[in-house]
């Protein structure tokens, strides 16, 4: 039986990561709804959610057939790839090397694309497909996150609850404000999620190899602290490049 720390960490990781994905999907669906009409936006969204549900019903039960150690190892390796990729981008964004993601800009870009196609006789279909694709792609990421953070300890249900809470929260705020959620601190969220997913990845892969981490599940927090410290050092290092003049003197 998993302890409270693991359950809370699993729900938090799933909630935060899913929030980022749902906000991105919401931006596109909103752009479709406002620029074209709400009918294709809802049909595209509904069709994507239905397809996701079917995929989960087909592939979900297969996970229970995989031995736990193998599942932890495979999920851990995928999380290392997924988490480190996310963390790398977050560090480079925080350091100012890459541009920060801006939901308002993404919304304007999508509206511009849709407006160009408004005269097309298939405009509704194109708009619906845009909503379908956005929800499907971001949804696949949410499903992966739920499986990845939950399956290693049999906590998929808790992870799914975290994702569902994110969905409800974004929908509630989004429907209330009726514009892109550009005030959600998406880049900060991505940084934290990158840290969490990388930590989960190292932890699960180690468990999958048979490592008996000191402190059992608490070591996940220790790994998180170490990964955070390294990420902070890297962000600081590349945000403040060394003064070349000083280096010249040192030489």
């Amino acid at each position: 039986m998993a302890d409270l720390t693991t359950i809370v960490t699993t729900i938090s990781a799933s909630f935060l990561a899913s929030t980022v994905e749902v906000v991105e999907a919401f931006t596109i669906v909103l752009a479709v709804g406002i620029t074209q009409s709400w009918r294709p936006a809802f049909i595209g969204t509904g069709a994507a959610l239905l397809l996701l549900a079917v995929l989960i019903l087909i592939f979900g039960p297969l996970l229970t057939l995989i031995p736990l150690e193998l599942l932890q190892f495979v999920v851990g390796v995928l999380l290392i790839l997924f988490g480190m990729r996310w963390l790398r981008k977050a560090i480079l964004r925080a350091a100012g090397v890459l541009a920060l993601r801006d939901e308002a800009k993404a919304f304007d870009r999508e509206r511009e694309t849709l407006a160009k196609q408004a005269a097309d006789s298939r405009a509704d279909l194109i708009a619906g497909l845009a909503a379908f694709k956005a929800v499907l792609l971001e949804g696949v990421e949410v499903v992966f996150i739920v499986v990845a953070v939950g399956a290693g300890r049999g906590l998929t249900l808790y992870a799914a609850l975290g994702a569902f809470a994110a969905f409800l929260l974004v929908m509630a705020i989004g429907l209330a404000v009726h514009r892109p959620l550009s005030r959600v601190p998406e880049n900060g969220l991505k940084f934290v999620v990158g840290l969490m997913l990388t930590s989960f990845g190292i932890f699960w892969t180690g468990e999958g190899l048979g490592a008996d981490w000191p402190g059992a599940d608490f070591s996940l927090i220790a790994i998180f602290v170490v990964v955070s410290a390294v990420a902070w050092v890297l962000t600081t290092r590349y945000r403040n490049p060394p003064n070349t003049a000083e280096l010249g003197v040192a030489k």
Partner: protein, 68 residues
Amino acid sequence: MKLLLGVFEEIYGLFVDDGALAVLSLLLVAAVAIAVKLVGLPAQWGGFGLAAGCLVILALSVHRGAKR
């Protein structure tokens, strides 16, 4: 078909952005797995090695990204 390709590209993109980061991470996992399962390195040491290796690979990737 275009949509399907887009979905597969997106799924691939979930895990691979900086190719070197992905390849080095997989090589690290393979090396640690071999060391633990075949050479007899204690699994706990393997875990520590994996954590340290991931952080070094991350630092190298960030360094490359910042230099571009």
